[in-house]
Amino acid sequence: MQIDNYLIRQTSLEKLFNNLIGNGKTVFAPQASEKRILFEKVKAFSEITDNYLVTTNAAKSVVFPRTEKLFSYKKTKETTEITDASTEAVPEVVLWGTRPCDAAAFIPLTDTFNGDYPDILYNNRRGKVYLLSFSCATCDEYCFCTSVNGSPGNTAGSDILFTKLSTGDYLAEVITEKGKKLVAENQTLFEAAPEEEKEPNLAKVKTYFNQDEIQAKLQNLFENPVWDEKSRACLGCGSCAFVCPVCSCFDIQDEKHGSKGTRLRCWDSCGFSLFTLHTSGHNPRETQGARWRQRILHKFLYMPDKSKVAGCVGCGRCSRVCPADINILETVTSI
């Protein structure tokens, strides 16, 4: 699809925000507190911070909540009555302030939920999300989007991508039908495209590896000391998976009260010792090394094999939060 370029004044961003809220949309944006910057529901423009590299958590919970009801059931002597979770109550959500890596992450995430079977709940939520992303002007030593086919100004996945220019105003690249709809609803705020180039206003992210080469190498790396070596300090928590915008493992849980109950899906992590534990007591991934291998192979080999895009967008979140300082970039570059 043809990308339309506009200029939007710094002062118009707030108007755009207010119009979105005024149109009944729920807006999630980066909010800063003492110890973290999270995507949170915001009501006023002043609650949003623009002083962040990437948020601590990923925006995925908007489409893949950490706990989601699938259905409820009621048993009687003869029958079991099942009521599917309603898709109607889901509001239209604007994700404001996603980074290009965050937006790109929705591509593999959506693929995962549309494998053998299209996930109705996920697709319903995803259909109601507008992604208004902001290009990155800065990066840190954990960022590696350019190694996994991304970039600090990548438009893939976003509906509109804003890039701050030297004047303080923004280039707005309108990428999708959804983006065009938002522009049409706010036409007065979008002016003729600026002259200034986008590129000089983007962060310079070093390219550390090439995803295709890594994918090829991983074909023959199942048995290798690198997995144990690089994961020795791993504590087996779920932080890396839970902050990852692409990780999608879940666990099915029934919460039952007498003859009634609900079935939930809850986030799961390959770092946990219960992950893939069989009923027999056997676990094919007995050690943290085997679990770390699963994480890397899933992202850099199995996912690109299956759906053509890697399961990692190089946001670096997992490495930033890891309590044992296990660094995914370090593992991948050592391969």
Partner: protein, 266 residues
């Protein structure tokens, strides 16, 4: 520092230990836990104020035990955890070599758990005034306000269990939250699930927690769960006397005597 490196080298050279658990350079300006098995790698060891991860957590991990007998770099918080693990029969003196690090960054060797206890007597756990003030403030809230406070603080918890994973005293091979037949604590990170998880975690650490703050430091969401354990420490002190692990003595909440002042047990 040099002392520590030399000692670590000689322990590996003489095969007294097979692995040295210490701090080394990490990502960006962080330090990280490193596991050295070759004498020539010991130069990677470092120690400074950034070394706050509690290394004692690795003493009970099967992947690390697998490497052989360890020597462990142990500043005061790590020493406290080692002593507590010893009280709980999780460590024997012959299991490890302790490379103590004093607050002046001097190497101190300990030949017994008793020696650690003696040394730690001079470094009693002191809860920071700023935390005391916060805890007092929370405790002074009316019940409904206090409940609302915790609901709000615990809401972002997505149950990654990093707090548990980083705690040297959360070593149970099967945590209560992993009892899933039936599920004891809801696995979901909804309101009830989060509340039950945090009450359970805090209660299981009452009288055992050594206030190392590893749990809080590990939490990616910055949830102030250390306030719960700190408050427990104060409660234990108030009712049973100051926390002071001692080999041969039992934990405050897992021991009882016929002459305990509580009457419900009789």
């Amino acid at each position: 520092m040099n002392e520590l490196i030399q000692k670590a080298k000689s322990l590996l050279e003489s095969d007294t230990v097979q692995v040295v658990i210490g701090y080394g350079k990490g990502s960006a300006d962080k330090t990280r836990a490193i596991f050295l098995t070759k004498p020539e790698d010991c130069d990677q060891l470092l120690f400074d104020s950034r070394c706050v991860q509690n290394l004692a957590v690795y003493l009970t991990k099967h992947e690390i035990k697998h490497l052989g007998k360890p020597a462990i770099v142990a500043p005061i918080p790590v020493l406290r955890s080692i002593l507590q693990l010893a009280v709980e029969n999780q460590l024997k003196e012959s299991d490890l070599v302790i490379l103590g690090v004093s607050p002046e960054s001097k190497l101190i060797e300990f030949d017994s758990f008793g020696a650690i206890e003696l040394f730690l007597n001079a470094y009693k756990i002191q809860i920071d005034e700023k935390y005391k003030a916060t805890i007092d403030k929370i405790k002074a809230m009316p019940v409904s306000e206090r409940f609302a406070f915790w609901i709000k603080e615990l809401e972002p918890c997505f149950k990654c269990y990093a707090c548990r994973a980083a705690c040297p005293l959360c070593y149970c091979p099967k945590c209560t939250v992993e009892n899933n037949q039936p599920q004891w604590i809801p696995a979901a990170s909804h309101l009830l699930g989060n509340l039950e998880w945090h009450v359970m975690r805090a209660m299981h650490l009452a009288g055992r927690c050594t206030d190392c703050e590893a749990c809080y430091n590990a939490c990616p969401m910055g949830i102030p769960i250390h306030l719960l354990t700190k408050s427990m420490l104060q409660d234990v002190e108030e009712h049973f006397g100051p926390y002071g692990p001692s080999v041969g003595k039992r934990n405050t909440l897992s021991s009882f005597n016929p002459d305990d002042k509580e009457s419900f047990i009789r």
